[in-house]
Every structure is written in structure tokens, then in C-alpha cells.
Symmetry: D5
Subunit: 141 residues, 10 copies
Amino acid sequence: MLFAQKKAKKLSFETIAKALGRDEVAVAALFYGQAVASDDDVKNLSKLLDIPEDNLFSTEIQAPPNRGSTMEMPPREPLIYRLFEIIQNYGYAYKAVLNEKFGDGIMSAISFSTHVEKEVDDKGEWVVIKLRGKWLPFSRF
Amino acid sequence: MLFAQKKAKKLSFETIAKALGRDEVAVAALFYGQAVASDDDVKNLSKLLDIPEDNLFSTEIQAPPNRGSTMEMPPREPLIYRLFEIIQNYGYAYKAVLNEKFGDGIMSAISFSTHVEKEVDDKGEWVVIKLRGKWLPFSRF
Amino acid sequence: MLFAQKKAKKLSFETIAKALGRDEVAVAALFYGQAVASDDDVKNLSKLLDIPEDNLFSTEIQAPPNRGSTMEMPPREPLIYRLFEIIQNYGYAYKAVLNEKFGDGIMSAISFSTHVEKEVDDKGEWVVIKLRGKWLPFSRF
Amino acid sequence: MLFAQKKAKKLSFETIAKALGRDEVAVAALFYGQAVASDDDVKNLSKLLDIPEDNLFSTEIQAPPNRGSTMEMPPREPLIYRLFEIIQNYGYAYKAVLNEKFGDGIMSAISFSTHVEKEVDDKGEWVVIKLRGKWLPFSRF
Amino acid sequence: MLFAQKKAKKLSFETIAKALGRDEVAVAALFYGQAVASDDDVKNLSKLLDIPEDNLFSTEIQAPPNRGSTMEMPPREPLIYRLFEIIQNYGYAYKAVLNEKFGDGIMSAISFSTHVEKEVDDKGEWVVIKLRGKWLPFSRF
Amino acid sequence: MLFAQKKAKKLSFETIAKALGRDEVAVAALFYGQAVASDDDVKNLSKLLDIPEDNLFSTEIQAPPNRGSTMEMPPREPLIYRLFEIIQNYGYAYKAVLNEKFGDGIMSAISFSTHVEKEVDDKGEWVVIKLRGKWLPFSRF
Amino acid sequence: MLFAQKKAKKLSFETIAKALGRDEVAVAALFYGQAVASDDDVKNLSKLLDIPEDNLFSTEIQAPPNRGSTMEMPPREPLIYRLFEIIQNYGYAYKAVLNEKFGDGIMSAISFSTHVEKEVDDKGEWVVIKLRGKWLPFSRF
Amino acid sequence: MLFAQKKAKKLSFETIAKALGRDEVAVAALFYGQAVASDDDVKNLSKLLDIPEDNLFSTEIQAPPNRGSTMEMPPREPLIYRLFEIIQNYGYAYKAVLNEKFGDGIMSAISFSTHVEKEVDDKGEWVVIKLRGKWLPFSRF
Amino acid sequence: MLFAQKKAKKLSFETIAKALGRDEVAVAALFYGQAVASDDDVKNLSKLLDIPEDNLFSTEIQAPPNRGSTMEMPPREPLIYRLFEIIQNYGYAYKAVLNEKFGDGIMSAISFSTHVEKEVDDKGEWVVIKLRGKWLPFSRF
Amino acid sequence: MLFAQKKAKKLSFETIAKALGRDEVAVAALFYGQAVASDDDVKNLSKLLDIPEDNLFSTEIQAPPNRGSTMEMPPREPLIYRLFEIIQNYGYAYKAVLNEKFGDGIMSAISFSTHVEKEVDDKGEWVVIKLRGKWLPFSRF
């Protein structure tokens, strides 16, 4: 329903994201059932997409979602595979650099945000993806 | 040998990276056999790590590596798993946003660079990972 | 719908490909949801297959597809398995030859086209598949 | 031993291939234990690489090899993955086109040869891989 | 439809096979969508099974099938597992004997036929399965 | 040791099989640790291969072997894959025909023998593999 | 249908088994499509479960079933996992003891019956599962 | 060491089991590192196998073992596969019968013993395996 | 139905658990078909959720469930993955400590209960999960 | 070395844990390379286990470990499998209860501690495992 109305209204994720005060990746994640909508999000989506609020409240977009269920790994989709391949090739390099910079811990994927930018130069178009997560040191116990 | 000398000399990837004019993730990748060293890299590494140049030229760090071979997927290591999980959860969201912004294609993992930053605010320390790849549209044929 | 009309009209991929100015493998890929149709493609398909343009515009053939989803790997289908087996047997040989000829990089599967020919000689019929992809060197960073 | 002498002698697969009257992919396959050397190949390799003939005759390069054993599928190596991805994305398209052109059968991966070319144009360098296999129709029984 | 009519008519694969001039394994394979019917096969099946010819022509039994799709490997079905186990246990023995007898190549599963016989002796009933395939030597290239 | 002496003595499996009064596939299986040698087999092998009897008695060829351990499934080796593919494509057809001919049961892979023949006609060389196993009906309980 | 009527009639597998002259495990297997019903079984089931004979004859319970298809391995269901774990932990111990007692062969799972008993002592209730299978020696060939 | 001495002394598991007052399957499990030896077991094994007690005390046979590590599932070994297949085919039947007889719970594989018997009748030799485990009802909480 | 009525009545698992005299994790497990309801549970649920008792008695919540079937492992859902990761990282540590404290055995997952608490301190909110299972020593046999 | 000295000194994890001021599960994790030792830990371990400090400083116990690498999932070891099974059976129940109590987020496995207790009552011995992790809400972005 969300996708259908988005298409009918010819709205981009960028436009919806601005209206909701959220990032467009978060909005796309919300459409794919990988993120949660607040009450205000529901009201805004209702207006933008012309869907009665009740329909949205009754949908699953407000409950903690069953994240990860839509994606098979390794991904077969070429665009997503390239992202997967970056982790596959540079995983230990990231770990080595982060452990050196921060100590023993992880970058949170929960206290986390991400943002996508387009850059253009004379060599062509470039995608810039920023991943920003809280550093969590392993507890000593 | 590279890791042992790095430890003995107490050199960080950051220091080595500066000396080589490369990013520290690229240097760590080089140590893990996931990236290639140029002739100048070999000379600089030789000096920094106090390893005879010939030893480095004769090692595998100058040949196109067998990338991906060190990593098992899904990763069991918690830090790397978090990166994997980001792709698992947001993969389709990235695809949707990128297709909307750029059309039908992929972000290259080859014409690609990455960089890691530490940010600190009153909530704690944050990791920022930047992925930058060339946009490649699918050829029409 | 596409397959049904193609059968009803007794059109070969070759015929359709000529009408669209595309390669027959690309057309078959389009039918399987592995490639994208341009606006002109839609118009031409509409005429050829006698399907109202709106039906085609409303189908998924114009959106960036979820590539790879139709194929299970390793393939169980004998014809496709043979292609898979060529990669399995000669993968490292291709890599060695390409690295020697081009340096450290990959052949793009995105800036890519492919073409199929039939050759006949006194030993029988031969399939010739040509794969043509842009060489992408790994970025130094 | 083969790889070490090839490196020491600074011989390319192309050079060796010419001396043996074979394709360079076949020679690389032979080095990786995926193809068989004839008696003449052994003699020529012996001269080129400065290895006593007996050493080569006693090695495994003349016995039918245990093909496929060096490669894990899906490949994690980026160059080989791209070839794999072509089969994953276009497998059913190839099947559809070949069945239409040849009937019910397969392209042999045994009565098979392959060849790699470099093409250069103003957009950059291109890899062209040619796969040529005998068409085998399914027997009626 | 084929199975239902076969049951209703109480026809064995053996009977159908004789009427079609084919082997009963081939007929069973045809019923499971693993083999192709010729125009004459369709006519004969139509008569035998009392199905209008058009229904059969419009079914999938005349198109090159998506072979292998009905079977999960390793098979869980005990009868089929025993066949699988024979390959698992004797695979390398077959390879060693065939390479010795024929050289470097394979037995084709395409230029191939198979036949099943029942033998009875004082120890009980015995199944004899004959596999007959063309020997294909690896091409030298 | 067995393979080395066989090679040194230039003995074929066929020759050894005749000397042992066994089938050459069984002998190859014995060499691969997939079959058991009797005391007489040991004596004969000792003579043929010029290996002291005690060495053979002390090897594992007389103990019930850990069958299946040498083979990975699905096989990547092309010759063995073709055999695997026959089961994959015709498994249910064999089951249907055997159930029709024999009732509810299996063909034993234990009370089992196999034999390989070469046939030559004007189309080329053919491999004929015969599988012969006892029919075991499921017990009613 | 079988399960529904069994529940409606409040019949245990034990009761049905007695009426059929079979073991209750066999009857449960029959309900799950893992065993075959004889004509008498059908008549008896028809009476017991109050299902018209024709319905049962027309169901699949008389055809050789596609055994194994209902079970995923390793089992996730705790009771069945415990049985699986017994094989996992004691598999080689069983093999060692059986080879010592019987020679080189297997215990048939086809010429096979099984029976479940309840025992009660002061420590609680105990399950006793008896597996009884014919010993099949590997044929010498 | 245990296996070597057992062979040298020509002791069967049955003989060792009697000397230890344990079941022969338990003894075989102990040899494979799947069960624990008590102090008395060690003394008895020491005498029987002529191994100094200290060697046995210093081996791993007295520590809680890493059970399950020797076995790959599904088993490829034919004898063990048959046991696995019994669980695969009759798993749900066992569950149905046990739940009916005992309620909601499992048969313990820990409070568990097993025993193997040979039976001979005019049809041949039969293996009887008895599995005996404590019934554990699921706790209500 | 259970979930729908729970939502409609705005009942928490905590509230339902109190009314049933059970733990809230057990109640959630019951909703997911991973636990069994007693007759009293059914009556209480009927009142609380305003569902006729007969509907609940006729549902599956009183039969021994097919546990484990709802969960894919490794879990892709982030919250559940964290629990999985704890076992992955600390599994052998738990085993070492428990074997040291209790001897050779396991903690039962059947004679088992679990409870979840929320703790709040100045660092934030904390989840405390208590797992309590009976210790079962391996039987000596 | 750590395990050997622990055994030689007959030290329990409990004793070592007290001396280090850490939990015994953490100490066992440290021995298995799943946790990090502080400088004080190294000094204390050195004294307790009679290992020169330098040996410990030079070992890997102070570097961020490659966690998860020692454990295969699903675990085949029975004790660890039971813990795995708890997650498999109650995973969604935990998620439902935690989401209800805390909102949309996860329990951290990094800001995490765990503790094991033995309880004894008239029914026997009980294991109590406490898992305590910080609640991390998903960031809104």
C-alpha cells in the first residue's frame, strides 16, 4: 500500500523524508518493514500518501519489526552484493583500525544512523554512504 | 612478518598510512592481503618496518591478491557482524534510495575508497565510516 | 503475460530483439525480470506483442529489477550448470590471465554486454557466447 | 614449481601459450591443475621453464585432473564473482535464447574452448571473453 | 493431469513406453517434466490417456524443461538416496576406471540413455539399471 | 602406496581386477578406501604390486572403511558431476518405474555390484555403467 | 482428514494399531505419509475412523510415499533432536560395535521394524525404543 | 593409542566392556572420545590394554568430552546414514506416539543408555538396537 | 487470533501472565506456539481475551507443539541475534565452568524456566534474563 | 599453556576468578580467547599460574580477540546445544516480552555480563545462568 501510493503520488523518498524530518534511507527502511514509524510519522505519511490514518495505525509499521527477514545473505542482487563484498574484503581491516583507534569493542548497528549522498566530478557520479554508530566497549566482568 | 614488525616498532596503521600517503583502512587491508602495494609502498614499508626491500618484493603484497579468502560469511566476529547486519537490515533501503537517485546501476566496490573517523560528543564516542564508490549504470545492450 | 503473448504471436527473441534494437539475450533477460525496458522498448513491445502500453508501463519491467532472484546457485538446470562449471573450472585461470593482461582489477558485469552466436562446421553445431565488460582497476586509496 | 619458474623467468601466459601452441587460458588452467599437458607440452614447458622433463612427467600435470577442486562457489574473489554473477543474472536468458536457436540440449563445457581479448576504445579498456562449446541435443530414448 | 489419467486408465509406464516407442524411464521423466515430448509422443499420449491433443500441446511437455528443479540434493527419499550413495561411494572409482579406459573426459548425461530391468534368481529380485552415455574427451585448446 | 606401486608397475585396474577375480570398479574403490580387501586379495595385491604382505595387512584396506568420506557432494569434478546429474534429473523417474515394477521398497546399494563397459560405434565411444542391486521391500510392521 | 477423524473419535495410535495388527509407530508413520497402507488397512481404517473406503483408496496412503519429505534435518523440534543427537554422538560407536559383531555391512532401515515401550521405575518414566533391522553385508564384486 | 593397543591385544569391545562392567557401545564411545572414563575404568583399561595408568590419566578420556565433534551430519558413512534415515523417516511418528503415551516432553539423550544385540533367524542376521532414555516433561512456568 | 485479541484488549504479556499464574515469557511462547496451555490456562485466556473456550480448545495451543519451527538459525533479527551471539561467544566458557561445578552433564532446556527483569541505574536500562535448568549428569552405562 | 598450568596447579575457574576480581565465566572466556586480559589480569595470572609475565604479555590474551571463531553453529556439543535450543525455542518470546517492556531495541551482548550459580533443592541440582545486558533503543534517524 505504501509503495503503491508513493508511486501514484510520484513522491521520492527524499521528499517523504523531508516531510517526516527523517533520513531517506530510514524512510525506505520503514517502507520495507525494517524501521518503526512514530505517531507523528504516521500522521505525516497519512497526509502525504493520502492513506487514512487508521489504516496506517493498523498496519505493522508501528510495531518493532522482524528486521532482517526480507534479505537473503549472501545477497544475489548486484547492488546489495557490492555492499556485502565491501564487508567481505575489508572486514578485518575495519576491525584492525577500529580496535587500534577505540580499543576492544564494536560499532553499534542500533545506536546508528546512515546517510547517502551523490557527488559528481569529471570522472562521473559517485555514491557516498556514511555509517555512523556509537562505539560500545566490551564490559569487563 | 608485517604484523610482527609493526608490533615491534609500535607503529599504528595511522602512522604507516601517513608515511605511505594512503588511508589506514587500505594499509590494514594490505596487511591482511586484501590490497596491493605499489613499488613506492614497498620502499616506504621497508624503511618504516625495517624489513629488507627484497623480502617485501618477494612476498605476495605486490601481486593481485586472492581477495575475500580470509573472511567467512556471515561473520562470527561481533564487530564485523555489526557491519554485515547493517547491509542485512538496510540493503533494500539503500537499493531503493540509490535507484531513485541514480537510476539502474550499482555503486562500485572497485572504483572505491573508504575512510574511518572518530567523533566524540557528550553521549560518548562514535565511529563514522565513509564508503565512496563510483556509480556504474547497467549498460543497455 | 509477456511469455504468453510471445508464444501466441510465435515471435522469437531474435525478432523481438531486432525490433527493439537490442540483443536477444538482453530481451530474454528483460522477459525474466533481469533487465530494464526503456520507454521506447515499452512502446515497441506493446506493438509487437499486442499488449496495451499502459499494462506494460504498469508492470515491473521499467523499474530497476531485483536481479538474481530467479536463479538458485549452484544451478540444477543442466544447460545453466555447464556455464557455471566453466567458471568453476577456469575461474582462477581467467583471473591469472586477466591480471597479467590488465593489472589488479575486475571485468565489470554492469558495464557489460553479451551476445550469442551459432556456428556450424562438419563436427556439428557450436555455441559461441561473447562476454564483454569494462575493465575496472582497483582504486588506490 | 611451475609458478615459481614462470616468475623467475618472467614469462607471461601469453608467451608460454604461443610456445605450446595453446590458448593462454588453457595454459593458466594447466598451471592450476585444471587441464592436462600432452607429451609435447611437457617437453616445451621443460625448455621454457628450465625444469628437467622428468620432474614434469612425474608431476600431476599429465593425469586427468581433479577439476573444480581449487574453487569454492559462490566465489569470494571479486573478479571471479563477476563472472559468476553473469551466470546468476543471465542464466535463464541464455537458456531461453539457446533453446530457441538450437532446441533442447546444452552447450558442452568439455568439447569447449575459450579465449580472452583486450579491446581499447575511448571509454577505456574492455575484456572480451569468448566461450565456444559444442551443442549437444538431449538424446531421445 | 497426466498422472491422474494414467491412474484412471490403469496404465503402467511400461505400456505407455511401448506405445510411444520410448523407454519407460524416459516416459516417467516426461511425466515429471524432466524430458520433452515430440509431436508424435503428444498424439500417442492423447490417445492413450484420453486427453485432447490441444491440452497436451498447450502444456509444458513440449518445451525444453527446467530440468533438476523437482529434486532436492542430497535426496531424503530412501530409494533415490541409495542411487545418490552409489555415486558418493564409487564416484572416484568410476572416474579412475573411466579415465584409464577412455582418457581425459566425461560420460555425457545428455547424449545419454538409461534402462531398468528386473532380474529374479533364488536369492530374490534384483534391479539392474543401465546408464549409457557418449564419451566426450576434453578439447585441447 | 597402492597408487604409487600401481603406477610404477604400469598396471591397469583391469589387470589387477583380473588377478584378484574382482571387478575393476571394486578394485578402484578399494584403492580409494571405499571397499574391503579379503585375505586373498591382500596376498594377490602383495605379489602384483610388490609390496610386503605385512604392510598391506597393517594398512586400513582390510577394516570396514569409513565410506563416503572422500567425496564432497554435490561433486565439483565434471565426470562425477555428470553421474550426480543423472540422479538429480531422473531420480523420481527411476523411483516411479521401480515402484511400479517392484512395489514399495528400494534397490540396495549394499547387496550391490557395478560394472563398466566401453562400446564403440560409428558415432564414437560410449560408456555403459551397469548398476545391479537387490530389491528390498519395506517391511510391514 | 486422518488426523481430524482420529481426534474426533478420540482414538489413540495404540488402539488403531491393535485394530490394524500393526505397530503404533508404523500407524503414526502412515498418518504422516511415511508408510503404506494395505487393502485390509484401508478397510479397517475406514471402519475405525468412519471415513468412506473410497476416500481412503483415493488418498495417497496406498502409494509408495515420498519418504523423508516432512522432516528437516537437523531437526529443530526438541524431542526429535534428542534422537538425532544420539546418532550424532554414538554413530561411530554403533558402527565400531556392529562391524565387530557382524563384519562389513549395514543395518537395513528397510527390512526394519521399530517399537516403543514405556517403563516406570522409582526414578520416573523411561522411554524404550527398539530398532530392529536386517544385517546386510557389502557384496564382494 | 587405545585403538592400537586394542588391535595389538586382539580385544573386542565386548571383552573390554565386560571387564569394565559397561556396555560395549559405551566403551566404543569412550574410545571415540564421546564418553567419560571413571577412575576404575582407567585402572581396568590400563591392565587390559597394557598402557601405564598415568598415560591414561593424562589423556583426555577422563574430562567431559567435546561430544559430537567427530561426526558430520548428514552422515556420509552408509551404516550411520541408515540410523540417521530412521530418524528422518520416523521422527514425527516417534514424536506423535511418545506425546500420546507420555504427554509433552522429550526422551533424554543424557539420562540414557543403549545396547546392541545380534539375533539370528532363518531369514538371516538381525541387529537390534535398544535406546532407553528418561522421559522429561516440559516444566510449566 | 490470540495476538489480535491481545492487541484489541490492550493486554500486556505481563497482565496475561499474572492472570494465568505463569511467567510472561511462557505466555509469549504459548502465543508463538512454543508452549502448551493447560485447561485452566484455556479458561483464563478465554475470559481475558474474550474468545469462546471452544475456539481455544479447538486450536493447537493444547497439543504438544512443533517447537523450533518458527525460528531460523542463525537468526537475522537483531535482538534475537544478540542472544545467539552470547551462546556463540561464551558457549565453551559456560561448558567449562558448568563441567567444573557439576561434572559431566548438561543443563536441561526441558526441566527449565526463564524470567526477564528490567533494571534501571544511572547508566540506563538493563535487561536481566535468568535461565534456570535442571542439571542432568550423563548416565554411566 | 594457560589450560596446562591451570590443570597442573589444580586451580578452578572460581579460584582464578576471585584472584582476578572477575567472573568465572569471563575467566573461562579469557582462556578460550574470547575475552581480553588487563595488565593487572596478566600480573595476577602470572603469579597464580606460575607463568613469567612476559610470556603472557607476548601471548594473544591482551589483544582484541577474533571472537566467535572457536564455535561452530549450530553447536554439536550437547551442553552448548541446550543453550542454543533455548534461543531457538524462546527467541521470539523474548523479543515480544522485551519489546513490550522496553520498546524497539536490543539487549546488548557487548555492554554485557553473565554469571552462573548452582542451586540445590530436593529435586536435584539446578543451573542458574544470569544474562545482563544494556538496553539499546534503535536510533531514530
